[in-house]
Amino acid sequence: MIHRRRPVFRREAAGVIEVNLPPAVSDVLVRAAEQLQATVEVPGSPGFARLFARVDESTADEDPAITLSRQMLLDSVASTVIGSAGKRLITDDEADAWLKVLGMTLARHAAELHVTTDADRASLSKEDGAMIDLIQALQVSLMIVLDTEAPANR
């Protein structure tokens, strides 16, 4: 006999999600957010180049206001994740910030590992591949719960 495993995310009520992440996975989330914030400080890194790649191809130089907006947005969602990663209940807005951090982390991670093709992805080490798998699994779980309506009688 086995215990029925609790889902890592469960819709608790309208706008509220219950979180049952193992502490180690919460730590991964916090580290991911911190690494994103640190990426902003390293303009020469592949991660920076990927996250802040030029938006406007029609101008010679990127408008600094665009880069600043992106950095502020990144910092905002990363801070939300760091502040909510240990909670048992999170709001939909916090879950949305988690999704954003996971998406940007995946992009940053792929850039740091020089993954630009499906073949690159397939040839990653077991450890790097497992990290990408974990991030993708969290994304899927979060998307499912965010798109789930609140139970009627609770």
Partner: protein, 106 residues
């Protein structure tokens, strides 16, 4: 009655015409820009579809079609319109980990 009618027409039509003309001149640089979504090998298709639906308000079918276009052809034009909105959309897509750029429409 006839004079009153003429005056009424003048006060409503002329200011509108002038306003449209000024707006047209001011936004000459904002004539259609395209938001290009670029394929990448790590972002899940479901994630891309969800982000496109959320950011642009597209139907699931339209978002999926655009995602598949980017996946197969390397990029897809996901929105066309004025520059400032195109930039905002790019920033929003980027905050979800998707790579996008803008360019003048052809």
């Amino acid at each position: 009655m006839s004079a009153t009618s003429t005056q009424a027409v003048t006060t409503h039509v002329v200011p509108d015409a002038v306003e449209i003309s000024i707006e047209h001149i001011d936004t000459a640089r904002d004539l259609p820009f395209e938001v290009l979504l670029w394929n990448d090998p790590v972002t899940l298709m479901d994630v891309v579809v969800r982000v496109l639906r959320k950011v642009f308000g597209y139907t699931a079918d339209k978002a999926e079609l655009l995602m598949l276009t980017a996946h197969r052809e390397g990029k897809a034009v996901v929105w066309t319109g004025e520059r400032d909105r195109a930039v905002r959309y790019c920033i929003e897509l980027g905050s979800n980990g998707l790579q996008s750029t803008i360019r003048r429409g052809s």
